[in-house]
């Protein structure tokens, strides 16, 4: 099974925390859509005859695309690939873009899953992060989408915001639960170097939230969502059973995906490649038939490390038999000390041939993964 990721590198305005690739100059939009379509043609054999099961429009802000533009891209996906039915077709949307009309267009274009960037239900936080929408628009957008027949909706939230108290965070979580969406992604605010927040931090104008507060907010969230029947299937992802994001899960399960558009990443099971993060250069390259990408050929050791790293972030964990069959590694033999340490700490459990992390263990997923890495 394969997935297709399509990057829409435009935003109305830059959020202060975001270090993804995007441009706030929107006039090159239709030219870029043309380039995306050409790249889809150029890479039609990259799925290696595997049927496409998920399509994901990410960004940037894909909800800036017009219905026609969206349809043009979608048609080319279906022309160039075998898409199984029903496929999971997700589009990331900002609440301020989701008018009734827009929602209708999206449905007509074939989108069946919406990922709505709510981030917080407090205007104070939204303003601080330079989001383009206000809290009431988020409520409205979700309800309008539900009314229009979207069942599969996910929303994004952010915690560890310096001004967000524990009570504020609980309120946000409750509001999120009240929306009755089947999927929520919630991220601890990360201060990335080349962002407005990164600069503020470097100048001493922004102090990241204390870790112990982040930890408390994380654990409170895990509890509240569990009560609401939302299962933590990945460090930052929660869903009703069976409604996990199939597209994102494929990243963690080592499945094949084709990334289209500037800065998009692809994985063919052995190698990773990523397109250039520059709209102009990307478009020029594609039009000349000289795709601009870099790639990394994964060694067995790197593949092992990726399997450990992504597996431990999910509820599916790492399968000991898989490690034995694919890498010739007996994890318990290789790292007996580390494993018993993390088990005693209550952060890792082994059950029916699967090693996985507990919710408390998720908080240390990076450290635990690196402990179990192989580097020679």
């Amino acid at each position: 099974m394969a997935g297709i990721y399509i990057h829409i590198p435009f935003c109305k305005q830059a959020c202060h925390y975001c270090d993804f690739h995007f441009s706030t100059t929107l006039h090159a939009r239709s030219e870029l859509v043309d380039a995306l379509v050409i790249e889809l043609d150029q890479r039609k054999h990259d799925a290696h005859d595997e049927p496409v099961r998920t399509i994901y429009f990410g960004g940037g802000t894909p909800s800036l695309l017009s219905g026609d533009e969206l349809k043009k891209i979608m048609d080319r996906v279906f022309d160039t690939q075998v898409v199984i039915s029903p496929a999971e077709i997700t589009l990331e949307a900002n609440p301020d873009d989701l008018s009734k009309n827009k929602i209708k267009e999206l449905r007509e274009a074939g989108i069946n899953r919406l990922s709505i960037g709510i981030q917080s239900f407090r205007d104070e936080d939204l303003k601080w992060m330079n989001r383009a929408h206000l809290a009431h628009q988020a409520d409205y957008a979700v309800k309008a989408a539900q009314d229009a027949g979207f069942e599969n909706i996910t929303i994004d939230l952010i915690y560890s915001i310096p001004s967000l108290s524990m009570n504020d965070w609980r309120d946000n979580l409750k509001k999120a639960i009240e929306l009755n969406v089947p999927h929520i992604s919630a991220y601890s605010l990360t201060i990335e170097p080349k962002t407005v927040f990164g600069h503020r931090k470097a100048k001493g104008l922004l102090t990241p939230t204390d870790e112990s507060i982040s930890q408390d907010q994380f654990l409170a969230m895990v509890d509240l969502f569990a009560e609401a029947g939302l299962l933590q299937y990945e460090v930052s992802n929660f869903s009703k059973p069976g409604l996990e994001s199939r597209h994102n899960s494929s990243y963690w399960k080592g499945e094949l995906y084709i990334g289209i558009g500037p800065s998009a990443h692809s994985f063919d099971g052995k190698n990773r490649r990523w397109n250039i993060s520059n709209n102009q250069q990307y478009m020029r390259g594609i039009q000349r038939g000289e795709p601009m990408f870099e790639q990394e050929i994964l060694t067995k050791e790197m593949r092992y490390n990726e399997y450990i790293m992504t597996g431990l972030r999910t509820i599916w964990g790492v399968e000991l038999n898989y490690l034995r069959d694919h890498f010739g590694v007996d994890l318990n033999d290789l790292y007996p000390k580390e494993i018993s340490y993390w088990k005693e700490e209550g952060k890792m459990i082994e059950k029916e041939g699967v090693m996985r992390l507990t919710p408390k263990g998720f908080l240390f997923a990076d450290r635990i993964a690196s402990d179990l890495f192989i580097v020679s």
């Binding site: 930052s236 490390n305 972030r313 990076d366 450290r367």
Partner: protein, 598 residues
């Protein structure tokens, strides 16, 4: 080749003043090396040397040059440019009749240059002054010429304009070597008298010793004696050094050559020793020989305790070609089994650590270095101390003596104040202040050697913006008020972190070390208390808070590669950590005390 057409010379230059590039040009013009083979800085053939930009071990090379219808042999002896190796420099200089003084025309004369220049003048070397890097836009030839004239009393027109980069002045330099440097004046029929100025280890042929013949002739098959070590060998091969070794049937007075005689370890070949014949020995050895003594001691331990035997084997191999490295086994409660090693200085210590890593793939922990102290007990015993843990308890200790040095620092007058402040802070006592030129001053201090070991050189460079160089000579022992400062991790003393320091510095140093350790030891799942103490008294404390969270928020398609690399790096870092009690301590934390100002 008769002696009248031999020229032996060395190069005196400050680091980065372009010595190696200019040397490469000489090799190129004399066709000693093939243009295509000319790797930048041919003379430095250890990788490490090229990276550090310092010629660590002296080498020599012979060039053939036709000048005014005559054939000349030019022997260039390369010299190391760091105070750790000043004895080797003095021996290289003693093997020459002349020296090229290379001065960067953008920088002017530096202190290191001056101390080596004095050495050369002491040995009556003819100096050829060269103004280098004249191609650079910020060159100040006239100002720097004034400095050179002031310093060596030459004529302005004797100074050669050069640029290693463009090749300017290279022919003129070669002509000056032939014209101005005197020919050697040895007697090739006298008893053999050859001075060893360097040696290298070759894994197939053993030790190759480089020498300058003052008198006599050495032939293949001769029975020779090394006078200081009092050992005899047969000269299996003698010859001269081109880019590769060139075997000859004999090497005569005035020339520079090599000898291979089945010597297995470097310790048998001492720089400065005299080679003579067993049968017809010279009456006396060449003056100036010194046994090289280590100045700095530190523990060297394998990061992985299982690698102790491998480490021993690696050190033994290193010692084969570096006789100045000494070591003996020791053990530490925190680190297990390792070695107490003696080094010529801090740079030497760093080089050994890096060579262990690169050439033997041995990752080691080096502990806080110290000098050698003499402890006098109340019972009248005298104990030499190479490790803080050897210091007797205070109730049994009468007094401690520590080695002092005479430090000569040359700087611009505008930095005099800052340099004096630093030296006084380092327990230095000003002995003399001497103006070399209107804006250059030479300061002479007596200082404890230990203070030089701890971040002196870096700070000197910083406060003088690079316009200070220094040189030092040991002058003996002095009584000092020293205490042993211990470091405790979560209440447990870590012997490998103890240091002997002056009582007046204890509080300040204790605090700074704790702060530095806090920076260097990564946070762990529990809180870590860092304490500095003297005896039972705690003088400083810092806390490393517990890590509450170590996870990336997002890990999607584009994040996987980056994230994996980051975690792989962490795992690598972990391999360089040592578990002390329950705390993982990184390799570099054991040297925290050296990095208090960075």
């Amino acid at each position: 080749m008769s002696q009248k057409n031999i020229r032996n010379f060395c190069i005196i230059a400050h680091i980065d003043h372009g010595k190696s590039t200019l040397a490469d040009r000489l090799l190129q013009v004399t066709k000693t090396v093939d243009e295509r083979k000319l790797v930048a800085q041919t003379l430095d053939d250890m990788d490490l040397e090229r990276e550090k930009g310092i010629t660590i071990k002296a080498h020599a090379i012979q060039m053939n040059y036709a000048y005014r219808g005559e054939k000349f042999v030019l022997n260039l002896i390369d010299t190391p440019g760091h105070v750790d190796f000043s004895y080797e420099v003095s021996r290289s200089i003693a093997a020459c009749e002349g020296a090229l003084l290379i001065v960067d025309s953008t920088q002017g004369i530096q202190a290191q240059t001056i101390s080596n220049l004095y050495l050369a003048l002491e040995h009556d070397l003819h100096i050829i002054p060269i103004l280098n890097k004249l191609d650079l836009p910020n060159a100040e030839p006239e100002v720097v010429k004034d400095q050179i004239v002031d310093l060596i009393g030459c004529e302005r027109e004797d100074i050669i304009h050069a640029s290693g980069k463009t090749g300017l002045g290279v022919d003129e330099i070669l002509a000056a070597i032939c014209d101005r440097i005197p020919a050697p004046k040895g007697d090739e029929n006298a008893p053999l008298q050859a001075m060893i100025f360097d040696s290298v280890f070759n894994s197939f042929r053993g030790i190759i010793a480089y020498y300058r013949i003052l008198n006599g002739t050495i032939k293949k098959g001769d029975k020779v004696k090394f006078m200081a070590t009092d050992t005899s060998y047969e000269a299996d091969e003698v010859g001269v050094m081109g880019l590769e070794l060139q075997a000859r049937s004999e090497v005569k007075a005035g020339d520079i050559g090599y000898i291979i005689s089945g010597i297995k370890t470097a310790s048998e070949v001492k720089v400065g020793d005299t080679i003579t014949h067993v049968n017809n020995p010279c009456s006396e050895s060449i003056k100036g020989f010194e046994e090289v003594k280590p100045m700095v001691f530190a523990g060297v331990y394998p990061v992985d305790t299982d690698d102790y035997e491998d480490l021993r084997a690696s050190m033994e191999k290193l010692q084969l070609n570096d006789a100045s490295l000494v070591f003996e086994p020791e053990s530490s409660a925190a680190l297990g089994f390792g070695f107490r090693c003696g080094f010529l200085g801090m740079l030497h210590m760093e080089i050994i650590q890096e060579r262990l890593e690169r050439e033997f793939n041995m990752t080691v922990i080096t502990t806080v270095p110290n000098v050698s102290y003499i402890a006098h007990t109340t019972k009248g015993e005298v104990i030499e101390i190479h490790n803080p843990s050897e210091l007797p308890d205070s109730n049994k200790l009468d007094f401690v003596e520590e080695p002092y040095i005479k430090a000569q620092i040359i700087t611009k007058t505008e930095y005099t104040g800052a340099v004096m402040k630093l030296c006084i802070e380092k327990r230095g006592m000003l002995q003399n202040q001497h103006y070399l030129t209107a804006d250059r001053v030479e300061l002479t201090f007596e200082m404890p050697l230990a203070e030089i070991v701890f971040d002196f050189y870096d700070r000197l460079k910083t406060i003088s913006r690079g316009y200070a160089s220094f040189d030092y000579h040991p002058i003996g022992l002095k009584q000092s008020d020293l205490v042993k400062m211990d470091i405790l991790l979560n209440g447990d003393q870590v012997d490998a972190l103890s240091a002997l320091i002056h009582r007046d510095h204890a509080f300040d140093l204790g605090k700074r070390i704790c702060i530095k350790l806090k920076e260097l030891i990564p946070r762990q799942q529990f809180e870590i208390a860092l304490q500095a103490g003297i005896g039972a008294k705690i003088i400083a404390r810092e806390t490393i808070s517990a890590l509450r969270k170590d996870v990336t928020a997002k890990c999607y398609g584009g994040d996987i590669s980056r994230k994996r690399k980051l975690l792989e790096k962490q795992k690598e870092g972990k391999k360089r950590m040592r578990q002390v009690g329950s705390v993982e301590v990184p390799q570099e934390a054991f040297l925290a005390v050296l990095k208090l100002n960075s």
